[in-house]
């Protein structure tokens, strides 16, 4: 299904009622957001308005759009960090507002855009914090926690940095350490806010490959905000393109990424090639 921005011409075809896979079977959505009106306490107007958004189970969904289009805000609502003015967000059919905080944290891992930690804790310490929602107040770490942390550290590829203090790491290594923390949380759903921004190319790939691996091996549902549409198109199963706080289009990259979209949403003139694989060749910025 795809809810279209009201001002979007019907050129993208009729609104799809349900998302279907290649065989036409209906795909279950892990997260569904409906009739969202999101605003910050300081703002009078809605920052994001969205009729419906689906994050399909077991797939990677990327939210893309220019700066200020509301993608991070939308992600905050999906992760219960921002209470919608109106509308609902459901996880497995249950309103996320009705979850206990720790219950939600066992279902859904969230990595914010900017993370700070005391510089003197080690990568391993950080990863162990991911076990927080699984431990009671008086419970100490058990074998399950050790196993989850070992797996997470291995999957994030930071085994060699285990005992290094977070303050000593490069930006890319730091991000991988934080990824290890959310992986240790061992959740079915993972929401990531611009995990590759400010990283060098090598670490961008490392982060995305880790997430992809997690999705394939453990069937984890992923929603990720990316600002590089080319990267998103290569990496994600679905794209959600946002413009000025509204959903512009929604669907698999091949359907969503068009020259028209790049002009409308990103304000760039670009050529899009679909064969042999989806490729975006930006040319120049369009005047506003």
């Amino acid at each position: 299904m795809s809810e279209q921005a009201p001002d979007d011409p019907a050129e993208r075809g009729a609104v799809r009622e349900w998302l279907t896979d290649a065989e036409g079977a209906k795909i279950e959505s892990e997260i569904v957001a409906e009739d969202l009106d999101l605003r910050y306490p300081t703002s009078e107007e809605a920052v994001v308005e969205c009729d419906r958004l689906d994050v399909p189970e077991g797939e990677v969904t990327a939210l893309v759009g220019p700066n200020g289009s509301g993608k991070s805000t939308l992600l905050k609502a999906l992760s219960n960090h921002l209470e919608p003015e109106s509308g609902t967000v459901t996880l497995d059919g249950q309103d996320i507002q009705t979850f206990e905080q720790s219950e939600l944290a066992r279902e859904m891992g969230v990595l914010s855009q900017e993370n700070e930690s005391p510089g003197s804790i080690t990568v391993e310490d950080l990863a162990y914090h991911g076990r927080y929602p699984h431990r009671g107040f008086f419970e100490s770490v058990g074998p399950e926690d050790h196993e989850a942390v070992d797996d997470a550290i291995e999957m994030a590829g930071v085994d060699h940095l285990r005992d290094t203090e977070v303050g000593q790491l490069s930006g890319g290594q730091k991000q991988l350490a934080w990824i290890a923390m959310v992986l240790a949380q061992d959740t079915d759903v993972l929401l990531l806010d611009e995990p590759t921004t400010f990283l060098d190319l090598h670490h961008q790939f490392r982060v995305l490959e880790t997430v992809r691996q997690l999705n394939e091996r453990e069937d984890v549902t992923v929603a990720v905000v990316l600002h590089d549409i080319a990267q998103a198109a290569r990496f994600a199963d679905n794209l959600v393109a946002m413009r000025e706080g509204e959903l512009y289009d929604w669907g698999p990259p091949r359907e969503v990424v068009t020259e028209q979209l790049l002009a409308d949403v990103f304000g760039v003139e670009a050529r899009v090639e679909y064969e042999p694989e989806l490729q975006i060749l930006p040319k120049r910025a369009l005047s506003e």
């Binding site: 219950e103 944290a105 003197s120 914090h129 991911g130």
Partner: protein, 375 residues
Amino acid sequence: MAGSHSIDSSTEQRHSRSWATPRLAGFCLAAAAITLLAGLIQVSFGSYSMTITEAWQSVFDPSILFDAAVWNAFLLGGELPEMANTRLIVWNIRLPRVLVAVLTGATLGVSGAIFQAVTRNELASPYILGVSSGAGLAVLLTLVVFSGLAPFLPLVAAAGGTIAFALVYAIAWKGGTSPVRLVLAGVIVGTVFQSLQTGVFFFADDLGVVQSAIAWTTGSLTGTDWEQVRLAILPAAASIVLALLGARQLNVLLLGERTAQSLGMRVERVRFLLSGVAILAASTAIAVAGIVGFVGLIVPHVVRNVVGGDYRRLMVGSIFAGPALMVVADVGARLGMSFLPGFGPIQVPVGVVTGLIGGPYFLYLMRRQQQMGEI
């Protein structure tokens, strides 16, 4: 957490993940040794002269250490059995002052450590959220205006601090709080209460009252005895245990509010409860020693520099380092002036000494560290 640590040490060994490092153990031992040494100096000297051997023999006198009647007198306020003069001076006058210093040091250290995590600011102190100005105002009002309440001065002071803290929280609250809002609200309440304090001073017509008020607002251990120990020991123990239990929560809180929430913490609730523990600790110290500055600020700092930022270590370290600083400072406050020519045995408030230690320490830090402020 702290208590459960020994239980799972076998599984932790596989990962060599014990937080209790040799460095922490060494630090705590050193701090304990300093506390003991300064305490022994404190009991050995004073206007009633005795030899060091006499004094130390009194402290470790088994006939007192293992006498239930004596402890009943000290801890429960019963009748004190007869004892020799030196014993009496050491046990009934000098030693309780050392113990009060130990309790104040530990509670202030713990309180400062918590507040630094809650506000995510290593320059925060137990008094940052209005506690000192609230307590100070309450003391002044009691001494100058409501003199009938004077017997309850310690409790009034603690209550004043707690009320100021509640006020700060109410001001900072706007659908939730944040470290910055809390600190700003603390400044607001502190400024107003400070002005009121100064105003109340003008209504004091007795020099004795003014001196007593100054002793309270700078913090002083002069004249403390077993009654203060009895008053402080239970709340001090409770707040220390709660602080140790909260260390893991503080660690997670330090990852930032959003991360803490994503990890399933009810941030507002935890922050409020932990602040409450810190207020309990600070109030305990205020009730017996007045507003001793700098201890709650420096202690977590020193400990962090030695054992690192993990709050399980930091908390344990603060419990040992606080008493060391406080007892040493009180030796200076009680005996320091007698070494200066022309003064004789005058005692100064211990808060004066902690300030004299604290200022240069921060100057040293400022010169040495690139960044200060955020943890």
